[in-house]
């Protein structure tokens, strides 16, 4: 990796239109000169049509800039409802970690870490402003980023506020409470803006609260609609999958991640989290709708159009929130609007996204041992012998899952779906013996792992066309985000701090660069001043790569 003086771009930045507002038409196109929403576009494919960086020149990919970001109040615009504090709250469980996929609009990158939002010159990495939120608490585990509407930015905080900032200045416009941190809610998602709806989810597994998705007005912040992930009372659709009102009102189903959207069908596709109590189903017999499901919601009303439950009655913490990826493909000879998901429970699903019709289910890890097979709807049938017992059961995957939040990718040029996978084991011990357990209800002990790999799945058959197993020794494994491009490249990270370019057709490694930390977000790419950049977050830093010209 060579560093070089990037004087040309620095000069160009002076002429750039900083803080240019987001043209909503950009949201309906494949991402080229902007990355205007979490997944680049609404499809969740994380495929870029750019090919300036391609197989022929990727060997010359070189660092344009690297920039570190320090969370905390120092030098920041300060807001928030919490106590006066100089404590650096984003240095939570993982330390300062960029899990967000920055938006890039008008030459400016916008991203967040827990309690912190930043604007950065996309040409140089120079910070333009920094906003810091004084927190009341909540688990500071990660933040997936910001949403944008015109000049307005939106991000969520661990203590459950939706905060809107002026993208030009970083000054706060308003903040709205979306949930109660004292009930153990904490919020990590990146808001998704569709039309004049800011879609906001939340999280929190510790004390059995119900999940929801709500739409906010981008101007006023007012709630337009709210969709609960469980039925609220006996007699409501889905209530037959719970024993009583009390269990469904404490049924979990968190909305941890941004969903995807089909503008023609006007449907928002969202994965929902696990039911609660998390690791024991004693007090919630039944399928527990709409937890661990893919749901299609009318984006104007929040009404559910259809659902598909990937893990009926989950007892292993396998949130089904992994990106529901949308693409148009050929299914048994006919063109069809498809939705595919590589789920945390270890199965790959393909559905018809117009109506939720099930098309395919196949496992994508070899160690999976918790299901006895599939039912007529293609849903895995959980083996009751693999639910937590006092004396323990060995389960694969572990609660971290066969994959997790880092975004997958679908490449229309190869027709392959790419996912970062883990083959791990855990023993689940039932710890809460009450007939009405609370929280997780079980203790889990890690029992080892066969390691992590990058897998390329043929969506028509579920067959793994190629996989690359990462050699590694110790350290944290875990999945990493993926980007594919028309330059016939796939970018992702390994657990040894390498950013790697693969040939998406066959898994051959074409380029790599070792960073100062492992890749912690989904890589993105955009064209700026006619030059294609690849931007990736690793720990507290953003790295921008380009082809030397």
């Amino acid at each position: 990796m060579r560093c070089f003086s990037f004087l040309g771009a620095v000069l160009a930045s002076a002429a750039g239109l900083w803080g240019q507002m987001l043209d909503p038409a950009l949201l309906l196109k494949e991402p080229t000169t902007a990355w205007p929403t979490y997944n680049g576009d609404y499809s969740g494919r994380r495929f870029s049509p750019l090919d300036q960086i391609n197989q022929a020149n990727v060997g010359h990919l070189t660092l344009a800039w690297v920039s570190r970001f320090a969370p905390g109040a120092q030098g920041a615009i300060v807001g928030g409802e919490g106590p006066e504090s100089t404590r650096n709250d984003a240095l939570g469980f993982f330390g300062a970690r960029i899990a967000a996929t920055p938006l890039m609009v008008g030459g400016v990158l916008y991203f967040a870490m827990p309690d912190n939002a930043f604007a950065v010159d996309a040409r140089t990495g120079r910070m333009l402003w920094h906003y810091f939120w004084k927190t009341k608490g909540g688990i500071h585990i990660g933040n997936r980023g910001v949403g944008m509407y015109g000049n307005w930015l939106f991000f969520e905080t661990p203590d459950d506020y939706l905060v809107s900032l002026d993208a030009r200045t970083g000054k706060e416009r308003w903040h709205k409470q979306i949930a109660d941190v004292k009930q153990e809610y904490f919020s990590t998602p990146a808001p998704v803006v569709i039309g004049n709806h800011v879609l906001v989810g939340t999280g929190g597994d510790s004390l059995d609260v119900p999940g929801f998705l709500e739409a906010h007005d981008p101007e006023t912040g007012d709630v337009q609609w709210k969709w609960w992930t469980e039925p609220m009372k006996k007699g409501d659709p889905g209530a037959e999958t719970w024993p009583d009102d009390y269990s469904m009102r404490h049924g979990g189903g968190m909305t941890w991640l941004p969903g995807t959207y089909d503008p023609e069908l006007h449907l928002y596709y969202l994965g929902t989290g696990n039911p609660n109590p998390v690791e024991t189903g004693a007090s919630r017999k039944g399928d527990n709708l709409w937890t661990c499901s893919i749901v299609a919601l009318n984006v104007d009303t929040g009404k559910i159009a259809w659902y598909y439950q990937a893990s009926p009655h989950d007892t292993h913490d396998w949130d089904n929130v992994e990106t529901p990826v949308l693409f148009d493909g050929v299914w048994q000879g006919k063109p069809r609007k498809l939705l595919a998901q590589a789920a945390r429970n270890g199965y790959f699903f393909v559905l018809d996204r117009t109506n939720g019709e099930h098309l395919l289910t196949t496992p994508f890890i070899s160690t999976l041992n918790w299901a006895t097979g599939l039912n007529a709807k293609g849903q895995p049938v959980g083996d009751p012998k693999k639910e937590a017992t006092i004396d323990g059961v060995l389960v694969s995957p572990s609660s971290n899952g066969a994959t997790n939040w880092p975004p997958p990718s679908f490449d229309p040029q190869t027709g392959l779906f790419y996912v970062s996978a883990n083959e791990s084991f855990s023993v689940f011990f039932l710890s809460d013996l009450d007939p009405h357990p609370e929280g997780y209800g079980a203790a889990e002990k890690s029992a080892g792992s066969y390691g992590s790999s990058l897998k390329a799945i043929d969506y028509q058959t579920g067959r793994i066309v190629w996989q690359h197993k990462y050699p590694s020794e110790g350290g944290f494994g875990g999945p990493t985000g993926i980007l594919t491009t028309a330059g016939r490249l796939l970018f992702t990270g390994d657990s040894s701090q390498n950013l790697i370019a693969f040939d998406p057709a066959n898994g051959k490694i074409l380029w790599h660069s070792r960073l100062a930390a492992r890749v912690t977000n989904g890589p993105e790419t955009y064209l700026l001043d006619g030059r294609q950049y690849l931007v990736v977050g690793a720990g507290d830093s953003l790295y921008a790569f380009t082809i030397e010209q």
């Binding site: 469980f93 109660d180 004292k182 009930q183 153990e184 510790s206 004390l207 059995d208 609260v209 009390y246 404490h250 160690t367 041992n369 012998k385 006092i390 004396d391 323990g392 059961v393 060995l394 694969s396 084991f425 023993v427 011990f429 039932l430 710890s431 809460d432 013996l433 009450d434 009405h436 609370e438 929280g439 997780y440 079980a442 203790a443 889990e444 002990k445 890690s446 029992a447 080892g448 066969y450 990462y470 050699p471 590694s472 020794e473 110790g474 350290g475 944290f476 494994g477 390994d494 657990s495 040894s496 390498n498 790697i500 490694i509 790599h512 070792r514």
Partner: protein
């Protein structure tokens, strides 16, 4: 390129685990107040709200109660205790402020215990058949081909409690997250061995320090560190994990075999 970029100097620094670093949260509540609160709760509240505060026949669950969750040192709970909920049949309890504060401490501890999974207790896991476990150890499990109760496993049950003992035979190498949680360093017996063979035929063997698709590094028995660039299958790299059999077993064990093995191993005091 496969050039053996060597620097036979000081061993590479593995990140040293911080001694005693633990991520177990603490409630921060006064344990004596929690215990006093338990006594007051049991005599005044348990009849309706259940012995464990999860709700009874006439009183609701207090652990998931928004009033309890919003409470700070009895400021919300106190009002309910003193005034009762006449509309719901809850009488008034004219308790002094100190006792209300103690009840609050007890309930907040119950909330903490439910919400903090890293504090959950594993109960008795020794439910297997020790004789069957011994037979598995010497037979189908092939444990005896590497281990013996009179040798390396002598007194093992005195060293570890049953859940730890079971964890240690399922995966003896404590790594990654678990290592961070426990603050334990690597056990030398579980360290992976690697042999790097250059095109010249020169071989380097030692403890594997790091490996990815682009580099492999090792420390020899003499303490010399060597690092090699990797390019596909050049140079040749042979990784030998002493725990490979343990890993392979994870897809072979039945839960019954694991329980029986645990029941047998806990007899090796």
């Amino acid at each position: 390129m496969a050039a053996g970029a060597m620097w036979g100097q000081a061993p590479a620094a593995r990140p040293a685990p911080r001694a005693g670093m633990r991520f177990r949260p603490v409630s921060g509540l006064d344990a004596a107040a929690v215990e006093r609160g338990r006594t007051v709760y049991e005599s005044h509240c348990a009849f309706c709200h259940g012995a464990n505060a999860k709700g009874g026949e006439s009183g609701p669950d207090l652990i998931r109660s928004v009033t309890v969750l919003d409470d700070e040192k009895g400021d919300k709970i106190g009002a309910v205790v003193l005034n009762g909920r006449p509309d719901k049949g809850m009488p008034k309890f004219p308790l002094p402020p100190a006792q209300i504060a103690d009840i609050a401490a007890f309930l907040h501890q119950k909330v903490f215990d439910a919400a903090q999974r890293s504090t959950y207790q594993v109960h008795n896991i020794v439910t297997g058949d020790a004789k069957a476990g011994e037979a598995y150890f010497n037979g189908a499990g092939k444990c005896a081909s590497c281990h013996s109760p009179a040798g390396d496993l002598r007194g093992i049950a005195a060293k570890y409690d049953p859940p730890t003992l079971e964890s240690r035979f399922l995966m003896p190498r404590v790594g990654g997250f678990e290592a961070m949680m426990s603050g334990q360093g690597p056990d030398p017996r579980t360290q992976t061995k690697v042999t790097v063979t250059l095109e010249s035929g020169q071989k380097f063997t030692g403890r594997l320090d790091s490996i990815d698709d682009f580099n492999v590094s090792l420390t020899t028995a003499e303490g010399e560190y060597h690092s090699f660039a990797r390019d596909g299958d050049r140079p040749k790299v042979l990784v030998e994990d002493p725990l490979q059999t343990h890993l392979d077993m994870l897809t072979r064990y039945t839960d019954t075999e694991i329980r029986n093995l645990t029941a047998y191993l806990v007899t090796l005091k």
